[in-house]
Each structure stands twice: as structure tokens, then as C-alpha cells.
């Protein structure tokens, strides 16, 4: 039996405020959205759940205006990303480290080796977001730049810094980078 499309479910929500349609749409997209939001926020489950709830509320409120020119999942992720950024900025966490900091091992870096997921969570929020979008979610720099309201160059440089920092956290140097051990 063919799966009801996202657009059909959304239509029922808009036209009839249909709860069962919402539940189906929610269950279809929430696991991926939650993992994304959780990662961008650095692993705070409570905060991620709050963002997830706000994302669905905002999406439902604006569902009638969604033109279906992009995938629903992409649109939803964009809303979630904006909410994450707002939270990180409001909390003063949307910061990039100066270059010189990258060369100073912190407490976490003194550990011999840490889990990749934890290392990503330890990245500065700006670097982490670009790394998650590019290296995990598969976005291109042009798309990241558009979503974050920055230049492509900024996206590239943040990815550059994020990868370097991640390697330091993981304690795994790479010959190509020379200075990273």
C-alpha cells in the first residue's frame, strides 16, 4: 500500500486540523530532525526536545504557506536549525574560537582519545553547525551559506577550523595538515 505523501498529510492538517495526520507526519520526520537538532545543540536532550517542539509548532503554523518547492524534511530542518541558532546565540554560545586557541589543548584534548560524537559536541557551536551540515548531513557550502546567512568563504573556513579542531580532540593527527597531532 502506497504511503501517504507528506503533502497529503499536510493538506489534512491545514484543512481539517487532523491530529492523526499530524501524528503520522511527526513520527515520520521526528527521529531524523531530533538527531540533527541534538547534534547541533551539542547533545543537550532537554534543550533539543524544546527545540523540536517549537519546530513542529512553527512548521504547523506556517504549513499553509509552504509551497512544496523543496522537500518537507529540508524545510523542517531549516526551521529547526534557525531555532537552534537563536538559542545558541541567546545563550552566548554561538562563538568561534580564535585561531590561536586551536593550538592550545584543553582538558578534553588531554585525554588520549574520545568518542567522535562527544568530540563533535565539544566543538564551538559555529564550527559544529557547519561540520554537522556539511560532513554529516551532506549540505554544500552554498546551501550552508544561504541557511546561515554567511558567505561561502566563511562556511569553508569554519569547516576548515572545525575539522582541525575535531582532529585535535580525537587525538588523531593527519599528515596532510602537518601541524595537527
Amino acid at each position: 500500500m502506497a504511503r501517504t505523501t507528506d503533502q497529503a498529510l499536510a493538506g489534512r492538517i491545514v484543512a481539517a486540523r487532523d491530529e492523526s495526520a499530524f501524528r503520522e507526519l511527526y513520527r515520520r520526520h521526528t527521529p531524523r530532525l531530533y538527531q540533527f537538532v541534538l547534534r547541533v545543540l551539542g547533545g543537550d536532550e532537554l534543550e533539543a526536545e524544546d527545540v523540536l517542539q517549537d519546530t513542529w509548532i512553527r512548521a504547523t503554523r506556517n504549513l499553509a504557506g509552504f509551497r512544496w518547492e523543496s522537500r518537507f524534511e529540508t524545510w523542517l530542518t531549516g526551521i529547526g536549525l534557525n531555532l537552534c541558532r537563536n538559542r545558541l546565540r541567546a545563550g552566548g554560545r554561538w562563538t568561534d574560537l580564535p585561531e590561536e586557541i586551536l593550538g592550545t589543548p584543553g582538558a578534553a584534548q588531554r585525554e588520549s582519545r574520545i568518542d567522535l560524537e562527544r568530540a563533535i559536541a565539544l566543538l564551538p557551536a559555529g564550527y559544529r553547525t557547519v561540520l554537522v551540515l556539511h560532513d554529516i548531513e551532506g549540505y554544500r557550502h552554498a546551501e550552508i551559506a544561504e541557511r546561515l546567512g554567511v558567505s561561502e568563504g566563511t562556511s569553508k573556513s569554519q569547516l576548515w577550523s572545525a575539522r582541525r579542531y575535531l582532529r585535535r580532540l580525537l587525538g588523531s593527527g593527519h599528515p596532510a595538515t602537518g601541524d595537527v597531532v
Binding site: R23, L52, R167
Partner: protein, 201 residues
């Protein structure tokens, strides 16, 4: 070594090694949030008028309850879900703590979390318990439900104690409550093969 004076946009990209690429590809892309989140979201959408109220939908799907045809009441599920948040939200349960005897690990997890975050978790769980217990009170109109109500209330209490012990691991009252549950579970043979306390919802 890269030239530090070179404009950052012109630097060579830090390419991922095949091993790094594989490690990133292996990260999970999906994760299921706490079970109460869906209900909270739907309640918020109902409150905002973005979804219809639940009552008419329930009647249209299930029809009115008939006398003598009593399944598990809806509030049982609501209360169990409220209790469940404690078990599934944090990845730490006293069942594991008592059953697997990993107390040191469990306490370490507690101490790694900030007090504010824990307080927030407890506050949220508390709100869910209050909601569930209100539902319980409203449903207390049938003597036949008393046993089930007790079961649900105990489950909620057990889960609440789970949350409190995360905030205050040394609280003597919470410890006594949990010891009582442990003794009750042992008497009833409710420990699973792995030594974990089994709780059925």
C-alpha cells in the same frame, strides 16, 4: 605547515581521510526523543488552535464505551507514559542501578550533569506526574479500577523516585522508597535475567 598570513578562504581544505569519512558516515542519523514529547507537542498545537480537540476524534474512532466492555482505561496509559519519561529520558534508571549494581557509574553520570539541568528534568517530569495524577483522580469513579489505579500510582511514584535520586542521590526518604520497591520486586520475582528490575507499562 600552512602560511598563517594567507587569507583563510584561500587555504587548502582540510580533507577528510577515508577513515574519518567512514566514521562520520557511521554516526546515527536518527534518534527517537522521549515518548511524552509527541503528546506535549500535540497539546501545544491544540492549545494554539492548530489541531482539533481530541475528544471528538476519540469518539468517532472508538465509539462510546459500552458497559462491561472495559479495556485498559486511557488514563492508565497517560500515567504510564508520564512515568515512562523518567525511564527513557535520561538513559539512567534506578532499576539499572539496583539491578546491575553500577552505582558508582550511575552517580558519576549524575554528577556530570549540571544542577540546573537536573532541576529542569525533575520539574518537567513532575509536571507530567501531576497531569497523570489529575487524570487518575478524575477517573476514580469505578471500584473495579482501584487495583489498576494503585498499580499506576505506584509506577508513577517509582519513576518519580528515579528522578529525585538523580538530583539528590543521598536523600534517605527516596532511598527507602526505592528499597521498598526493590523488596517488592524481589518478592514478586520481577527481576529479569540480567538482574534488572522489570517494570511493565
Amino acid at each position: 605547515m600552512k602560511d598563517p598570513d594567507m587569507p583563510i578562504d584561500d587555504r587548502e581544505p582540510v580533507e577528510l581521510t577515508p577513515e574519518e569519512r567512514a566514521a562520520l558516515d557511521a554516526l546515527p542519523r536518527e534518534r527517537v526523543p522521549g515518548r511524552m514529547l509527541e503528546e506535549r507537542t500535540i497539546n501545544a498545537l491544540r492549545d494554539g488552535g492548530l489541531l482539533g480537540s481530541a475528544a471528538p476524534a476519540r469518539q468517532s474512532v472508538e465509539g462510546p464505551a459500552r458497559k462491561g466492555e472495559r479495556g485498559r482505561p486511557w488514563w492508565t496509559a497517560a500515567a504510564a507514559m508520564a512515568a515512562g519519561i523518567a525511564l527513557f529520558a535520561g538513559g539512567l534508571s534506578v532499576g539499572q542501578m539496583l539491578g546491575a549494581r553500577q552505582t558508582a557509574d550511575a552517580f558519576q553520570t549524575v554528577f556530570e550533569e549540571g544542577d540546573a539541568r537536573l532541576a529542569s528534568r525533575v520539574q518537567r517530569a513532575g509536571s507530567d506526574y501531576v497531569t497523570a495524577l489529575e487524570a487518575l483522580a478524575e477517573a476514580g469513579d469505578a471500584a473495579a479500577d482501584t487495583g489498576q489505579a494503585l498499580e499506576v500510582a505506584l509506577t508513577a511514584l517509582w519513576a518519580a523516585a528515579n528522578e529525585i535520586v538523580r538530583l539528590a542521590p543521598d536523600d534517605p526518604l527516596t532511598a527507602r522508597i526505592l528499597q521498598g520497591f526493590e523488596a517488592r520486586a524481589v518478592d514478586a520475582g520481577e527481576y529479569g535475567p540480567g538482574g534488572q528490575l522489570l517494570v511493565e507499562f
